[in-house]
């Protein structure tokens, strides 16, 4: 795999983690109010999927979308400022944490009503399909969203009209506090896509390379005119649903198990030059030893010193974003009115 891409993905995963931890800190300090849904643990999904996307593609996301926005190229400053409700925010302080929009980067928003990303993506896909453009629409949603009517209605229409949409389920196994076995009759989410004849895959959402490869395959099919595709990426969020949720309904052993499979640690490890430890070799089994060894040798993209440099660069970027957000001005009521009437163009209502 291309060295620049590997390093870029690693950088984005580190940025994502640092951004969310900084947001949590600002929230704890009272600088950010309202709802705040954080992404740590799920980085491999956004980073792998969006690195496989083209700049011309459209992205629709949920209320847990800071990282999607960040990886999509929206500056940490303007996202952080939006979380702080400031005028310099990507949505001018009118959206907040759950409603990041960026027209220029084709980021069609974060949606805070579960299941809304489906019809938005469907409409975007319809527009692209009608214009016969080579673009794809990437629609993110959680496992909790697949029991909304819009999920089924959208899959049906997307398949019926062969629209260019990649559906990506970030299956973190919880809809707020309800574990998937208690909310879904079918817990392998990808199987539901079969009902609409949509090709679907389940992949390890903790492995950024697996996500990247799966997203690339799926996007290639979307662009080839094969109609909608579906990826279920199994992952885990380390924190509760939002800052007001301690996540205490989850067994400690489960949280620990997923933390052990931290995708960032795994990614650092994969690109490190270090020879695997004896225990890792032992744990990996015979076939995997060979593969793992080959990858580490062949894909020696980074060393300890470079990693430390990268981490410190990322931290400076995020620290700067927080300072920028804190120092930015508050929007005024005139700004709110202006946002409200901005699209009237030539019209005078009365």
């Amino acid at each position: 795999m291309d060295s620049n891409l590997m390093q870029a993905m690693l950088r984005d995963m580190l940025r994502a983690r640092a951004f969310e931890e900084a947001a949590a800190q600002s929230y704890a300090q009272g600088q950010i109010a309202g709802f705040l849904h954080l992404y740590p643990g799920e980085e491999a999904v956004a980073v792998g999927a969006l690195h496989a996307a083209e700049p011309g593609d459209y992205v629709v996301s949920t209320y847990r979308e800071h990282v999607h926005a960040l990886v999509r190229g929206i500056s940490a400053r303007s996202i952080m400022a939006e979380l702080h409700g400031k005028k310099t925010g990507v949505s001018s302080g009118m959206g907040g944490s759950m409603h990041l929009f960026d027209r220029e980067r084709r980021f069609l928003g974060g949606y805070a009503i579960v299941g809304e990303t489906f019809p938005i993506a469907l409409g975007a896909g319809y527009a692209v399909g009608y214009r016969k453009l080579p673009e794809a629409v990437i629609c993110f949603f959680g496992d909790g969203a697949v029991n909304q009517g819009t999920f089924h209605e959208t899959l049906n229409m997307a398949a019926l009209w062969k629209l260019p949409i990649l559906f990506i389920c970030e299956n973190n196994h919880y809809q707020i506090g309800t574990e998937i076995h208690r909310h879904s009759a079918i817990v392998d989410v990808y199987r539901r896509a079969c009902a609409y004849g949509i090709p679907a895959e389940q992949e390890d959402g903790m492995d950024v390379l697996a996500v990247y490869a799966a997203a690339q395959r799926a996007l290639h099919r979307v662009r080839s005119g094969d109609g909608p595709q579906f990826l279920e990426l199994t992952t885990y969020r380390y924190r509760g649903h939002s800052m007001s949720d301690p996540g205490s309904y989850r067994p400690e052993a489960e949280v620990k198990a997923y933390e052990a499979a931290d995708p960032i640690a795994a990614a650092i490890h994969e690109v490190s030059l270090k020879y695997p430890s004896q225990s890792e070799l032992a744990a990996a089994g015979p076939d995997c030893i060979r593969q793992f060894f080959d990858r580490c040798c062949q894909d020696g993209h980074i060393d300890d010193a470079a990693l430390q440099r990268l981490q410190s660069e990322v931290q400076s970027e995020i620290d700067d974003a927080v300072q920028f957000a804190i120092q930015s001005p508050q929007p005024t009521m005139e700004d709110a009115q202006a946002a409200f009437t901005q699209n009237r163009r030539f019209e005078t209502l009365l």
Partner: protein, 331 residues
């Protein structure tokens, strides 16, 4: 100038907008092959093809949301919801999405979305198909609502709605589709939300909209024979409302009667009444009166159904009472 039925005027408006701008498309249940339940999209599939005139599955929330997403990419969707009653299934797309996205994005995304819906009380369609839900949308900032009552307005207002970059609901009345009226395609349209005086009068102002505008005009003709001259203002728009035209009229007549097909409790008339007394309380010689529908699900039985909504006689009586009450007070 040609005489057209209300549905034909809408059909003509759709046809012209589809022809003039390839970003316009329409979708909904049975709009394409069938031509629309009220024939509004008749003949358009053959002319413009399936990408621009699209039959949908019965999935109101999602195909309305499709319109929202497509509008974000610069298309100008005209979503037909077969009746306003089904719009209850699409409230999330209309209220949480269409009305919010332009604002929540800090103005980045215009929302050139038009949603057409037949509604009102027709003839014995039962309680689920005989509703007037306009107040539910009036309370949502970010939505604009027009209520054409003539073929000319249907033609103008649909075209204006499609050309606007705000989400606009076009509420069509089921009993108006087969009303005939003159349509001048060359005349310059008044502003989309401007009220029109349908009949001038010096004694009292009747504020109304949609099909009740025709009922009020019939009542005004009868009142004129008794020497009471009632001015009839057809609002044409429920959001925003042209208060200026209403205030000017009430300031001349000093009496105000509101006629709405909507249920009385927390209906459209409640808003008209509250705002108008703020604007012109000291111009009034008597309290503002409302003639409205009963607060009752619409009965299926024909006679009972008719009795739930205002008829010409109710308007005439209310006007007489309003004027008589005034005489009593001044004596």
């Amino acid at each position: 100038m040609t005489d057209l039925l209300y549905w034909q005027a809408l059909n003509r408006a759709m046809d012209i907008e589809l022809a003039e701008d390839d970003s316009v498309f329409t979708l909904g249940e049975d709009v394409a092959l069938y031509g629309g339940t009220y024939r509004v999209t008749e003949g358009l599939l053959a002319k413009y093809g399936e990408w621009r005139v699209r039959d949908t599955p019965i999935s109101e929330n999602t195909f309305t949301g499709l319109g929202v997403g497509a509008a974000m990419l610069g298309l100008r969707p005209v979503v037909e919801i077969m009746t306003i009653n089904f719009a209850l299934l699409a409230m999330d797309a209309i209220v949480n999405m269409a009305a919010k996205i332009p604002f929540m994005s800090g103005g980045q995304f215009p929302m050139p979305l038009t949603i057409r819906m037949p509604g009102g009380i027709a003839r014995q369609l039962g309680a689920q198909h005989s509703q007037r839900l306009e107040v539910m949308f009036m309370n949502v900032p970010g939505l604009r609502i027009v209520v054409p009552s003539t073929p000319q307005d249907a033609y103008w207002q649909l075209r204006q709605a499609i050309r606007s970059d705000d989400p606009i609901l076009v509420l069509e009345h089921e009993l108006l589709y087969f009303q005939k009226g003159a349509v001048d395609e060359t005349a310059i349209a008044p502003p989309l939300h401007q009220a029109q005086i349908r009949r001038a009068g010096r004694d009292l102002t009747c504020i109304t909209y949609s099909r009740m505008s025709t009922v009020a005009q019939e009542a005004a003709a009868e009142l004129a024979s008794e020497g009471i001259e009632m001015e009839v203002i057809d609002l044409r728009s429920l959001s925003p409302i042209d208060w200026e035209s209403c205030v000017q009229s009430v300031s001349r007549t000093h009496h105000c009667l509101i006629v709405e097909e909507d249920c009385r409790f927390a209906g459209t008339g409640a808003e008209f009444c509250a705002t108008l007394q703020e604007f012109c309380f000291y111009q009034l010689d008597a309290p503002i009166q409302r003639v409205a529908a009963l607060d009752l699900p619409t009965p299926f039985n024909g006679a009972l159904e008719a009795a739930t909504i205002p008829a010409k006689e109710n308007v005439v009586q209310a006007a007489r009472k309003l004027m008589g009450l005034n005489q009593g007070v001044s004596q």
